[in-house]
């Protein structure tokens, strides 16, 4: 059961090739557990967790775990629009999954328009490389370079050991919160990417006033 008091709700989507570890990453983030065997995701699965930004608001994350399989693409696409950010997931032991990242990124950009989505690039299965069970096919430098080019945060994680899992989600949450503070993101009717929480009623009213004041300013 998700925490009930929160200030904002962000909708995030996890995308990437099939079997890169999206569901495992999310399961660890959600339950703190790693499941050795997991079935391929059917359609889109949903998770929710509330996290606290240090000395900031409480944020409920609605996380949409999409199926990587091609046959589900028509369904997963419908979830892009109402997302504010996307976690681009690849398997560091599988070159192709990293090579496909630009495709996933453009897909998300196209569907999240007119909003500019926040991305983070997450490499999975770090444990396999560290314990020698798998061979690294994507170097950390490559990923960092891609991140620098597109100005996105990059991180390598392991859903088995839990390393950096929390970091991946808090990084994207922080960035979205920054964009709200800077005024780039606003809550909009009919868009579920960002919503204000129930413990945030007073702030919510302020926010509405702010939006209403906007056109008045521009017309003068």
């Amino acid at each position: 059961m998700a925490d009930l008091m929160f200030d904002y709700q962000f909708r995030l989507i996890l995308i990437g090739d099939s079997t890169v570890g999206k569901s495992s990453l999310l399961k660890f983030f959600n339950d703190g557990k790693f499941v050795e065997v997991s079935d391929p995701t059917v359609g889109v699965d949903f998770f929710a967790r509330t996290i606290q930004i240090p000395s900031g608001p409480r944020i409920k994350l609605q996380l949409w775990d999409t199926a990587g399989q091609e046959r589900f693409r028509s369904i997963t696409k419908s979830y892009y629009r109402n997302s504010v950010g996307a976690l681009l997931i690849y398997d560091i032991t599988k070159r192709a999954s990293f090579d496909h990242i630009p495709i996933w990124m453009n897909d998300a950009k196209r569907h999240i328009e007119p909003h500019r989505p926040v991305f983070v690039l997450v490499g999975c299965k770090l444990d396999l490389v560290n314990n020698g069970a798998g061979k690294r096919e994507v170097t950390e430098e490559e990923a960092k370079q891609f991140g620098a080019e597109h100005n996105i945060f990059t991180v390598e994680t392991s859903a088995k050991t839990g390393s950096n899992v929390e970091l991946a989600f808090s990084a994207i949450t922080q960035e979205i919160y920054q964009r709200i503070k800077s005024g780039e993101y606003q809550m909009e009717e009919g868009w579920d990417g960002i919503k204000s929480g129930y413990s945030h009623h007073s702030a919510n009213i302020d926010f509405n006033n702010y939006i209403e004041a906007e056109p008045a300013k521009s017309c003068c």
Binding site: G43, Q62, R71, F72, I75
Partner: protein, 496 residues
């Protein structure tokens, strides 16, 4: 098109002789043409007409005889056309009891006579009226044509069309009268002719403006008609709408639940309750029922829109066939179960759930809802300290099972959307109905169980608590049924 076209022809012919026939060719429009084109060509013709009338002035003044001769030559060519025209005029007038061929002979003779006396003059008088009538007729005709194309006109339109027809008939009568009168007039008189020419110019002017405004009216009519047709002209379309928009009128179920939850929160805040008494809607949301319901609504809407687009590309019997198919699926989803009191024990529920879900899609996992069901069963068998905790547990159990059902339906929806091959949609629809019924039976079982636990108490609140449990139980059932119906468009789309 026929009447006014011929009138126009005769008008051209009259003022013009040889040149006029070009105009006639221009005017040889097919019955139904896009309006803008027609208006355009009318404009061209008008300019030609004014050229023609200029020419007529000079020709008539300088070589009146030549014109007459050419008129004679052309007249013989024109006879057949004029003849048919005149046939009509005469028939329309109903003055004659003669048979049509006879009339045409007579008319032909008349024309010959007219020619010998002065073709140009005769036609000048003729054209004045015919131009006018042509202007009105053209407009009528265009709008009539549109009406014919688009479908049955509205009663008031029919009335106005009738009126226009009357006017037209009147004009025709007049024209016909003049036809017979004119030969006796001294039409070669130059003054008379000149005045006629200026009259023609004026008429061309007014006709022009008439046609322009007529064209605008026509465009307006086209727009109105199009809208009318889109709205309810075509019964097929209406049927389509019935399919598409059946759910749009309803407020989303998820919205209702969301509002209920928010209202409860605000109320509890107002009452300054330290501990929020967790209501059904609130629990339903926290068990992630709301989010899955919303997702199911999203899929459903998406499929409905696709269905709409696909259906619009069909027509006639094809459309009817498809609609029958869609209706069949819909009916199967609304299967009526007579036994409202039927309940299901945990084992019965498990068996039927697994059977039905696998028959719809083997990819959908039943573990979660079965785990929830088991957990609820466990909880309901434990010892309770007090009445309120039974009540709260009951509400929570109902909300949790309903939420799990939402997730199950959502997953089924996804699979139905993806996997259109494995089973017939009708089979899926039927199994879905049965599955739906099973979940409702399980809900009733839970409600009954908690209610019987509550009856052991005999406090003031007991009956309130019991009716509360039954109320939420019946709410749960209706949410489940509504959610199952969201699958209808998804199923329907899978057969197209």
């Amino acid at each position: 098109m026929s009447d006014s076209e011929v009138e126009f022809e005769s008008a051209d012919e009259g003022s013009q002789g040889g040149d006029g026939w070009e105009i006639e060719n221009d005017f040889d429009l097919p019955d139904v043409k896009p309006v803008p084109q027609e208006t355009e060509s009318t404009g061209t013709k008008l300019s030609t007409l004014s050229n023609v009338s200029d020419k007529v002035v000079t020709e008539q003044n300088v070589k009146c005889d030549d014109t007459l001769k050419s008129g004679e030559n052309d007249a013989s060519n024109a006879v057949s056309t004029v003849q048919s025209k005149l046939n009509k005029l005469v028939v329309n007038n109903d003055n004659s009891t003669k048979s049509v061929p006879q009339i045409s002979e007579v008319v032909q003779n008349e024309i010959m006579q007219t020619n010998s006396q002065g073709w140009g003059g005769w036609s000048s008088g003729w054209s004045v009226n015919s131009l006018l009538s042509t202007a009105t007729a053209l407009t009528n005709q265009v709008s009539q044509g549109i009406t014919n194309v688009i479908g049955a006109p509205a009663p008031e339109q029919l009335a106005s069309v009738d009126k226009d027809k009357e006017i037209k008939d009147l004009n025709e009568t007049k024209v016909n009268d003049e036809l017979t009168e004119e030969p006796s007039e001294s039409i070669l008189d130059t003054n008379y002719f000149l005045s006629n020419v200026s009259q023609i110019t004026k008429i061309v002017e007014t006709t022009g403006s008439k046609i322009i405004s007529g064209g605008l009216d026509t465009l307006e009519t086209v727009g109105k008609k199009t809208l009318e047709v889109l709205q309810d002209g075509d019964p097929g379309l209406r049927k389509k709408r019935a399919i598409f928009f059946q759910n749009t009128e309803k407020i989303n179920l998820s919205q209702v639940l969301q509002e209920a939850k928010e209202k409860a929160e605000i109320e509890s805040k107002q009452n300054n309750q330290v501990e929020v008494r967790k209501g059904y809607a609130y629990l339903f949301d926290s068990f992630q029922g709301l989010i899955h319901l919303e997702s199911l609504e999203l899929l459903s809407k998406q499929c409905q829109m696709k269905l709409q687009t696909v259906l619009l590309s069909y027509s006639g019997t094809q459309l009817t066939d498809i609609q029958d198919q869609l209706d069949q699926i819909k009916d199967l989803c609304y299967l009526d179960f007579e036994d409202d009191e039927k309940i299901m024990t945990i084992e019965e529920f498990k068996n039927s759930l697994i059977t039905y879900v696998n028959q719809i899609s083997s990819d959908v996992k039943t573990e979660k809802i079965l785990r929830v069901s088991d957990l609820i069963d466990e909880k309901s068998n434990k010892e309770f300290d007090n009445e309120d905790s039974i009540h709260d547990e009951a509400i929570s159990a109902l909300a949790e099972l309903t939420a799990a059902a939402m997730e199950l339906f959502y997953k089924l929806g996804e699979m139905i959307m993806i996997d259109t091959q494995s089973q017939l949609a009708t089979v899926k629809a039927e199994k879905l109905s049965l599955l739906n019924e099973s979940v409702c039976c399980r809900i009733r079982f839970i409600a009954n169980k908690y209610a019987s636990l509550l009856t052991k108490y005999d406090a003031d609140d007991t009956s309130n608590n019991i009716s509360d449990v039954y109320l939420e139980s019946s709410n749960s059932s209706s949410y489940i049924q509504d959610a199952a119906q969201l699958l209808i468009p998804i199923l329907q789309l899978s057969v197209i």
